[in-house]
Symmetry: C2
Subunit: 319 residues, 2 copies
């Protein structure tokens, strides 16, 4: 649940003077999103989102994120488009925090993932990868393979309390992934967090992608692997190969995977599962059980990790 | 922070079929409000609010609340207007909870109260009192004088840890208020919770009143007394008589106070301060310090209570 920063009416008014989007009619804090404070702004000209960047976002990265959304929107990707002020700037400060206004995206994220969602997600991801190819700014992926060991080390002391034998299992997994992580796959801008709450649908059509605040440069197929984890497991943690096939086939219609990418997919999927397992584990261990932020169960991704480790070939992913 | 109940897209779709307000374009949980789950719904026809009533609201009271909003809106009060379904009903169920759709009210609540807000609040409160006169349903005020002692008794054990001597001070106050509480003042429907987050302004004009979920039948002047507590103290807990004068004078332009009401005002203001002190104290003592719901400081109202007790005449309220 978000809205960490309260904005006064006077602060909002002074902020909006810099823009040509009309006067504020309503301004409501949105409960979704845990990283930033998001407000739905209604003006005399339309609806917008106002985002205040909280401490988990490094201000140095904001030109990359906002520039990327501009870049993608220019290329026809349905994503929030940063609104530029009269001075041309999209990034300024509100209530003491870096802040930006973006266009309002219609649609709702699917609370229950169905097979019908997975094809459109695959196609949209591929479209994003193609549209990002000529984006000039770079941002390394701090949460790729090199970032996992520090996270693991920071969680080691409490990990076996979360699940017996977890330290040993993760240790082996990490050793193996570090040794075999592919380094020469086609790379570019990836979303890196395309879970269902970041994809909007309207009348069964995908209407937009949001939350580019983990976007970075990395292997494109790793982004596909993240989506396999995000979209293809059932609530009982079983893998749904029909969903995976729909996602991968639709992806490949827009951007065919190279042989090396296909071959690496089970390994990349293990890595993606480990990445979310480790950040959740770290938060689980370092967040008090009854804190304001709801903790997410890291063991969900342990189940996913084990599935990917057991997968012997791409046929298990429906291909 | 609200949104306790998640609504799935399928549940929302089935719910909206009962209404003639178009199809959902967006549906976002609002962070404001602590009693219920509130969603901002954008449809092809406009913006609406969807409220799911959580456990703090007694379902038996919902016909009163929704009926009152209908009644007031019919009489030109700017408040959320319940949207009736094709079957005529405004109240149905969504995601297992009682739920209603209301019109969307434009405006923002003032984060910092200024003198300019207080006149419009007084006038709107008086307008509400007049418009409510012929409302047929009744709801007793569970949080009036008869309700305070049970709250006090339930907080007694922990009260002196909140402030030294609090038990003795509240005991004396309660005895005095119970003995002298006026019983024959003009009565009717009161809002009972008209704090600044329940009053919207647009371009310095009051644009609406929201949150009628404490509304009930009680002395009208008691509602005025609540507003004196809600609008006329500064952040340093000092009383601003200019704000009080603005509020009271504007109220009286619409509905003049009777002599008995004026005379009772300091006592009623003490009672109102005690009422919010006691509910906050109860929540403070019975809510873990790091729970999901943010606790509000009860001692704010102890300062207000002491001011009202020290007030010897109406001149101290700017009259």
């Amino acid at each position: 649940m978000a809205v960490y920063t309260e904005v006064s009416d006077a602060e909002l008014e002074a902020f909006l003077v810099e823009y040509d989007i009309g006067e504020a009619d309503a301004f409501k804090g949105i409960a979704e999103g845990v990283e930033n404070s998001n407000y739905l702004l209604t003006t005399t000209k339309g609806q917008y989102m106002v985002t205040l960047y909280e401490k988990r976002v490094d201000p140095k990265d904001l030109p990359f994120f906002l520039g990327l959304m501009d870049h993608l929107a220019d290329r026809g990707i349905n994503c929030p488009r940063p609104i530029h002020g009269r001075d041309g700037k999209a990034l300024r400060r509100l209530a003491g925090k870096p802040a930006a206004i973006t266009s309002f995206l219609h649609g709702m994220w699917p609370r229950r993932i169905a097979v019908k969602h997975c094809g459109p997600v695959g196609a949209a991801l591929a479209g994003l990868h193609l549209a990002g190819q000529d984006f000039k700014l770079k941002r390394p992926n701090a949460l790729s393979v090199a970032g996992w060991r520090p996270l693991f080390d920071g969680s080691r002391a409490g990990a076996d309390d979360v699940a017996r034998g977890l330290v040993r299992e993760l240790q082996a997994e990490l050793d193996d992934l570090e040794a075999h992580w592919p380094k020469a796959l086609p790379a570019g801008v990836i979303h890196a967090d395309l879970f269902n709450d970041n994809v909007f649908f309207l009348h069964d059509k995908l209407s937009g992608l949001i939350d580019f605040y983990f976007a970075c440069n990395d292997s494109l197929a790793y982004d596909v692997a993240i989506c396999l984890n995000a979209w293809c497991f059932e609530p009982d943690r079983s893998f749904n190969a029909t969903k995976a096939r729909a996602l991968l086939q639709a992806y490949e219609k827009v951007r065919p995977l190279e042989a090396a990418e296909r071959q690496a997919l089970p390994l990349l999927a293990r890595g993606a599962a480990l990445r979310f397992l480790l950040t959740r584990l770290y938060d689980w261990i370092h967040t008090p059980a009854n804190a304001l932020v709801k903790r997410k169960d890291p063991l969900e991704f342990l189940a996913y990790l084990r599935f990917h480790r057991s997968a012997s070939s791409l046929t298990e992913y429906g291909l």
